[in-house]
């Protein structure tokens, strides 16, 4: 997809968002109409005007360059999926167990082959979190639904 089309999608979304925002202020209580509702209307107006100006600028521009979201498609989507799975696992199994799975698996799937580095760095990072965050700083970490 070209950058120009991406731009149009984002800017049109902004204009639609601005219209919806402006309309939503009608449902604000009377007490807010001269305060927070005015603020939201002000933002909606600025967003709509600026987005339309940018649409105009883009229309005049002769830019047909394409947008490169990722350089390595396989690794990019692997990381996205791993992060989503990691967040899901944290909700169920808590931080420590999920991290113990996430770290080595991601290292392998991102192309690291030295087993000793994978094991030592994963163990080291988990130990560091346990000692500094949990024991010393007492930062609460997610326990998960199952162990929580």
């Amino acid at each position: 997809m070209t950058k120009k089309i991406f731009d149009y999608i984002i800017l049109v979304f902004c204009v639609v968002l601005a219209v919806l925002l402006h309309r939503s202020t009608a449902s604000y209580p009377e007490i807010c109409q001269n305060s927070t509702a005015s603020y939201v209307r002000f933002l909606a107006l600025c967003l709509a005007i600026l987005s339309m100006v940018q649409i105009g600028i883009n229309y005049k521009k002769n830019d047909n360059s394409s947008v490169e979201i990722y350089k390595d498609k396989k690794r990019f989507f692997t990381l996205v999926i791993l992060l989503v799975v990691y967040a899901l696992l944290i909700s169920y199994f808590g931080f420590m167990l999920s991290t113990a799975l996430f770290l080595p698996l991601t290292m392998v799937l991102m192309g690291h082959r030295r087993k000793i580095t994978i094991i030592l760095s994963s163990a080291g990072l988990i130990l560091f979190i346990q000692v500094l965050f949990v024991s010393v700083l007492q930062v609460p970490l997610p326990d998960g639904i199952i162990f929580g």
Partner: protein, 499 residues
């Protein structure tokens, strides 16, 4: 008011207080250097630790963490494009490109020296002119706060000079996201879509971590290492501090200290405002964002200048200049120290010991940073396959621990993908985050001002301070628009001559 200087110095230079300065500063550098952990979090987590310490030792420890974290945040910002603290986001803009060019050591040197000068100057101001300066911030009312937030956003334009309008759109997107949550006037929920976690609004920490850290990790999937060529530690050591940075350090220090004094304006804004001013006065504007040491100097002196500045209204008026100062206020209160006149009379020994300890904290991080800076460059050599999961893990911890919410982890991932798309299309993620941070200040100021004036917009032009702020906003906005107009005119002329 009788201040026994000798007694204060004796207290400060006692073994346990010197140890507190060292441990606090070192811990601050580590906390600041870990993406996702902020100075606010560090100071807040330290408050219970200070229970068992004397008030001055507790405050010295917290002051050390504050100073150390402000500097420490620049290390991953420069080497990994992952700001350790939000305040280091501006540093990353030039620090990381410089690091990628093989000058990581130089970037770290500029960072530590600028941080030191900014920190020392603001501590000096805090010590000498605390009360007279704090009076200025007292004169700020709701309209001035709104204009202050707008002034912060005006800096966005210069950050996205090639796409001025896109920069502004990005900033407004941030302000719109900040509207989510509870209405400050009616107490009603707005745009929360039924999510309980959004009742208090979108926390900027997951947004910031998502847009700066995770987005960067997704980018890194296309590379095996951040720095492909080997870094020669010896050559890094030999790199000299570039000349001609004094002007930018001066501008950053002054801007950072002033912004720090203003309640609600944190080190992040101080760094961006300083960066923006530096860009305006630079002879090589086009090099900003591409590895210009001037940008690092201004941003780092700015965020460290904010430290002393933010403590001025805190200690004299009880108004925290930023979130770290707010956490420090908690530390003062648990020791029964009430900010104001009493701190400078009954508790003068404690207050002045604390203020003088900030000088030692700055010297400590200068020594640590100067000595270890070249070795920090080694972090750049870590294979991305190891770095990516490690940073993602710290990002998850950072996003979660601010509110202890798994929802914030999901929020971080959403902002990461949003940030990636915005980045690729020329919109500014820095502007979105800045808008999100400034949103509550802008809305409070705007709403309260209109309530006072019964809906009349004239209130934003009534006070002399408001006029000064308008002048500053215009001076920030005008140059990029003039440049844009000139570029368009030049292109048109070229097209005409070509045809």
């Amino acid at each position: 008011m009788n201040i026994d200087i000798f007694s204060i110095l004796m207290t400060l230079f006692s073994f346990h207080n010197l140890l507190a300065v060292f441990v606090g500063t070192l811990a601050g550098i580590v906390i600041g250097g870990i993406p996702g952990l902020t100075a606010t979090m560090g100071v807040a987590l330290l408050i219970p630790v200070t229970f068992s310490l004397s008030p001055e030792t507790g405050l010295i420890l917290m002051g050390g963490v504050y100073c150390g974290a402000m500097y420490g945040g620049s290390i991953p910002a420069i080497l990994l494009y992952t700001p350790g603290t939000p305040a280091a986001a501006a540093t990353a803009l030039d620090g990381y490109p410089l690091s990628r060019q093989g000058h990581g050591g130089l970037a770290l040197k500029v960072s530590v020296v600028s941080s030191f000068i900014g920190g020392i100057f603001s501590a000096f101001l805090l010590l000498v002119v605390a009360q007279p300066l704090a009076v200025v911030s007292l004169k700020f009312g709701p309209p001035e706060y709104f204009l202050l937030a707008i002034m912060g956003l005006a800096g966005i334009v210069s950050l996205a000079e090639d796409d001025v309008i896109k920069g502004l759109v990005s900033g407004i997107i941030g302000l719109v996201i900040a509207v989510i949550g509870t209405d400050i006037i009616s107490g009603q929920l707005r745009y929360t879509m039924g999510f309980h976690d959004l009742y208090e609004g979108v926390s900027f920490m997951p947004a910031l971590i998502g847009m700066f850290s995770i987005t960067q990790m997704l980018e890194l999937t296309g590379f095996d290492k951040i720095v492909t060529e080997k870094v020669d530690i010896k050559s890094i050591k030999r790199e000299k501090m570039p000349k001609g940075l004094g002007k930018f350090i001066g501008v950053g220090t002054a801007a950072g200290t002033v912004v720090g004094i203003l309640p609600g304006e944190g080190a992040t804004i101080a760094a961006f405002v300083s960066y923006n001013f530096a860009k305006q006065i630079s002879k090589v504007k086009e090099k900003f964002g591409k590895g210009n040491p001037e940008g690092i100097a201004a941003a780092e002196s700015g965020n460290n200048g904010c430290v002393g500045g933010s403590l001025i209204p805190l200690l004299t008026l009880g108004i925290p200049g930023n979130s770290v100062a707010a956490a420090l206020l908690g530390g003062l209160m648990i020791h029964g120290l009430i900010p104001g006149h009493e701190l400078f009379t009954y508790h003068a020994d404690i207050t002045y010991t604390f203020m003088l300890s900030l000088f030692l904290a700055n010297i400590t991080f200068l020594a640590i940073g100067t000595y270890f800076a070249p070795y920090f460059s080694k972090i750049s050599l870590t294979p991305n396959a190891v770095l990516i999961p490690a940073v993602c893990m710290f990002a998850v911890v950072g996003a979660y621990s601010m509110n202890n919410s798994v929802f914030d982890i999901w929020l971080m991932l959403i902002f990461a993908l949003l940030g990636l798309i915005l980045n690729k299309t020329g919109f500014s993620t820095s502007a979105v985050v800045l808008g999100l941070i400034l949103g509550p200040i802008a809305e409070n100021g705007f709403a309260q001002a209109l309530t006072i004036s019964d809906g009349s917009g004239a209130i934003f032009f009534e006070s002399p301070i408001a006029w000064i702020l308008w002048a500053l906003i215009l001076s920030l906005l005008a140059p990029p628009f003039v440049n844009m107009y000139k570029k368009a005119k030049l292109k048109k002329a070229e097209a005409v001559s070509g045809s």
